[in-house]
Subunit: 365 residues, 2 copies
């Protein structure tokens, strides 16, 4: 357990939660479950009992101040700031390279900053089992038992049980499969052999880097050069010179999938409840507590009045919002942008944001 | 024609257009048709060619400044300000009494400040015919040919043609009938014998007051006392003493219906198009020009983006409004209040406002 180091990549804007989540105030900086904690803070608190102060944060330079306000205990040397987004292979690869530089025996665990998980104890048990399994020389993904035939997630095909002391749930991974069609998703669900890929994994940094080197040698070389300069006076200049040149690719392609083909990946099926808060319908599910008639209301200053209405209101203003005779509506009210859609169409918010971007309305994105 | 004096009562808040129309900024102070004129200004301009400067305005004290800004040409002595609303019999009765005091031969015409009428020439022709008919000793209502079986308006049952020189359309009125049920409204429509009662009438002030005296003697006496003090130094003190004591009742009950029973009422069926802008669906109808896909957008600063959406957006802000996959929606976006409903439910806005009032949310009403 002393080899464990938690990494929290916090990059995505969470476009599907626009206009609540946006470039300047992404999803992980919001308290989307009315818990009193932002998603980022909750992620940190969930990992802290396992990692103590050994938490490395990877985020955009623009979020430095907000992240430090959320996580005042994070060490300056553990804050990796991206000058521009370079996708997950570079972000997580740099974390692995920096940690490897500090101690080649570190087992890293990477956990997105914008997921909702409960209870903490079951999550921590899964991470503990993942660490024991990783120590046997595996990249260990923590899978999510599917609750429905989702076409929005990738899946992990689970193989034989592994015999790892302290990790009774550990299984081999046969393969990762990309987001399936609905009929294929139904087959996966029925087979009981698949878990959702939530992008959570635990692995020896040395093994991560080995696969990265094999699959993306240039990216690997660039990251190792930055890591060699990390914690030295040259950190800033070397990073500024190399980071913009790095290839954009996903960690799944650069490491996870080829490692699975090589038989190096295991899975711990998670028994906790999990939600990636992918759209406003999720916010409705996660906030059943505060209801005005059949409307789920989020926002401290919200003044919502309803008559024969149902749906979700996310209010980031103090305005009165009156809903009359409208069903399954999704309303997100912020000072400079208003979204009105339905729970059924909430997944299409991303394309609306692309549309706004194309029209040059960048002030509200 | 020289006996004609136009009266414009501008009292109603237009609750069904909340939050666009509200106590501090009622319907008649808005440009609801994107014409460049408020409803009040358009009403004045429509009457001016007939009445010249002979226009008496009756409104609430709170609207004095806004009304004077809209109608800078109105004479101070022609501005009747109510310290509190007392319904239409007191408002129109006071106008009649003041005009009677000035000249007992005046023929007054009363026209609400918040209706949309076009073209002006057809309206003016109807008013001219009404004036000629009124001069024969009639209270003359200008009826509206029904376009559908509305249950939201009162109806006028039309009788025999009258033989009035200069007023070929003049007919007797058999009776006024209140808002009917749907089946009754269908019968009215099919019979061709009925017109909508739009509350527009033209009558000798002496005849108006005669019927008011017969039906509401105390109200009549109070109004005559105020009128006697009008245009004198006692105007303010007498009005302040008497106005609050007056009975609240509608001009229909106090004058029009009993006058019809007495055979004193005629009708000029209007041939102009008419809309009382009773709800947001009406705003949609009256503003077909500015469309974003299938969404009618009102508001100069509006920044509306749609995807598979239809309905009406009234924007009183500069916020971006994104509509995704929502049909027949009605959105009214103001700085402190937001309404989201559907064209089918737009008529229920009034009850929502009552609900807000009951909950003490008066700051936005």
């Amino acid at each position: 357990m002393e080899r464990f180091y938690a990494v929290i990549p916090a990059g995505g804007v969470g476009t599907r939660l626009w206009p609540l989540s946006r470039a300047a105030a992404p999803k992980f900086l919001h308290d989307l479950t009315n818990s009193g904690s932002t998603l980022l803070r909750a992620t940190y608190d969930r990992l802290e009992p396992l990692a103590h102060e050994r938490v490395l944060m990877v985020t955009g330079e623009a979020h430095r101040e907000a992240v430090c306000r959320q996580l005042p205990e994070i060490l300056e040397s553990n804050l990796v700031l991206e000058s521009e987004p370079k996708d997950s292979a570079a972000a997580i690869g740099l974390a692995a390279a920096i940690l490897y530089q500090r101690d080649p025996d570190i087992i890293m665990g990477s956990f997105a900053a914008d997921q909702v998980i409960s209870p903490d104890a079951l999550f921590q048990d899964a991470v503990r089992q993942a660490i024991y399994t990783a120590a046997t020389g595996k990249i260990v993904t923590i899978g999510i038992k599917p609750t429905h035939a989702s076409t929005g997630f990738g899946y992990i095909r689970t193989g034989e049980p592994l015999d790892v002391p302290g990790a009774p749930s550990a299984h081999a991974v046969v393969e990762f499969v990309e987001k399936p069609s609905e009929s294929v998703a139904n087959e996966y669900l029925a087979s009981g052999q698949y878990n959702w890929n939530a992008g959570m994994f635990v692995a020896p940094v040395a093994l991560m880097l080995k696969h990265l080197e094999q699959n993306e040698p240039e990216l690997y070389a660039g990251l190792m050069t930055i890591a060699a300069a990390w914690d030295t006076p040259e950190q800033a200049s070397v990073t500024a010179a190399i980071w913009p040149t790095l290839k954009k690719t996903a960690i799944d392609y650069a490491v996870a999938e080829p490692a699975a083909d090589a038989g190096d990946v295991a899975v711990i099926p998670g028994t906790f409840s999990w939600d990636d808060v992918g759209d406003f319908a999720a916010i409705g599910r996660l906030n059943s507590a505060s209801e005005v008639d059949a409307v789920t209301v989020m926002g401290e200053g919200a003044r919502v009045f309803t008559e024969s209405a149902s749906g979700i209101v996310v209010s980031d203003t103090k305005r009165v919002i009156a809903l009359i005779g409208i069903e399954d509506v999704v309303i997100v009210d912020t000072p400079d942008a208003l979204l009105v859609t339905t729970t059924a169409h909430a997944q299409r918010v991303k394309s609306a944001v692309d549309h706004l971007k194309a029209k040059g309305q960048t002030d509200v994105l």
